[in-house]
Symmetry: C2
DNA sequence: TTGGCATTCACCATAATTGGTTATTGCACG
DNA sequence: CGTGCAATAACCAATTATGGTGAATGCCAA
């Protein structure tokens, strides 16, 4: 198996030096270099062809999240491990959405860092447990839904509502469901009563807000 | 510091026995008991008052995910660590949405398991890197958005579109934006041209699909 | 300063939606 | 064997939305 080539971006010179020593001294790793900012991040990735990028999230100028976005424009597979001293919800969220592969707090031991880099190079997504907790919470928040509020819609009414959400008109719904225009009208009237709305747009908005689709 | 009380649900008798020995023999832990199914899960949690629950995800009868839901009905804080041999996307997703605190593959060493239980009892969310990767991918998928497609909407047009999404009619928008009905009409006509749609519901659907709000 | 664009407004004709009532069919439940 | 409900359908009147043209104002940049 080939060495794992590691490229580091961090504005702290001590971290650059110590990680440089660490990866050069550890069997199975190869240190491409360490840079204090992201001005040349895309070019440096192109140049060094690393297997893993370590990215400090709080860099001056182009921050780590922006750098991840730039790398991801041309390279969707390269593992990028975010390093940070803070576990700020918004930054975690942004970094993950930008396409980061993992997220470590800097309080890890060097052994744990080595382990994490190995894991991320193999396609895993190492995360500090406290980070993982945040991610899970964000995830749960986004996917909590009120099954309670079904509004007692009948199956057919749900069908019709789904077409409304897709942007269909009475006529289109009638065509697609193979029923008459007046029947669509009837269904929609009942939907409005059950949802306590009185227009298609309100119904669509309510359906989407309550994940009725 | 008090011992960490661990309660286990797993249908494999070998795992029950070996983890029983492990946690009884490890300083800082206390083993509440091991059960092969979830029929009494809520009562057992109530009885033992554990600090951490280890839950196999594939149990006969009431599965691990359903068990998590039941526990979460009355106890939102108790750390529940899911154990599984498979890393199936849907199960990961369901377990997390049900309220699981962490998610470990069973290929972990006993030392790593002990470490993970410690972490979860402290409020972390240990995850096997391969699981974490799935979670990140699901997360990224849910939150990917096309900032590119702004559709060249002017600020005012975005305002109007936002009201459409809220379910407002021409009149309501005119009132709320303090402009005339015909002006709203004009804005909406331009929005339709830019979005390539020709009804309020289509505009709302497209706006929401492209996160234009 | 001229051209483009955003924002505002008006009028007209057509099409679509809304709310009301009424009615038939078929299915499930007690 | 009625009762209730979902699903289907029809009719009417009033409101709302759509698509077109045209036009005034103001602002910014070439």
């Amino acid at each position: 198996m080939n060495n794992i080539k590691v490229l580091l971006f961090d504005d702290n010179i001590r971290i650059r030096e110590s990680l440089s020593i660490l990866f050069n001294a550890t069997r199975g790793f190869e240190f491409c270099g360490a840079y204090p900012d992201n001005t040349q991040v895309v070019e440096l990735v192109e140049l060094h062809q690393p297997n893993v990028v370590l990215m400090d999230i709080d860099l001056p100028g182009i921050n780590g999240i922006e750098a991840v976005k730039r790398i991801r424009k041309t390279n969707t597979d390269l593992p990028i491990l975010m390093l940070t001293v803070f576990d700020d919800d918004q930054k975690i969220f942004d970094a993950i959405c930008a396409g980061a592969s993992g997220y470590l707090l800097k309080n890890k031991s060097l052994d744990q860092l080595i382990e994490a880099v190995k894991e991320v190079s193999l396609g895993g997504a190492p995360m500090s447990p406290s980070i993982a907790k945040r991610v899970l919470e964000l995830f749960q928040k986004q996917n909590k839904f009120e099954t309670a509020d079904d509004f007692n819609l009948s199956p057919r009414e749900k069908d019709v509502l789904a077409y409304l959400v897709k942007g269909s008109s009475y006529k289109m719904i009638a065509d697609e469901l193979q029923i008459g225009y007046d029947t669509v009208h009837t269904h929609i009237k009942k939907i409005y009563k059950k949802l306590h709305v009185n227009s298609m747009t309100e119904a669509v908005a309510k359906a989407l807000k309550n994940k009725l689709t």
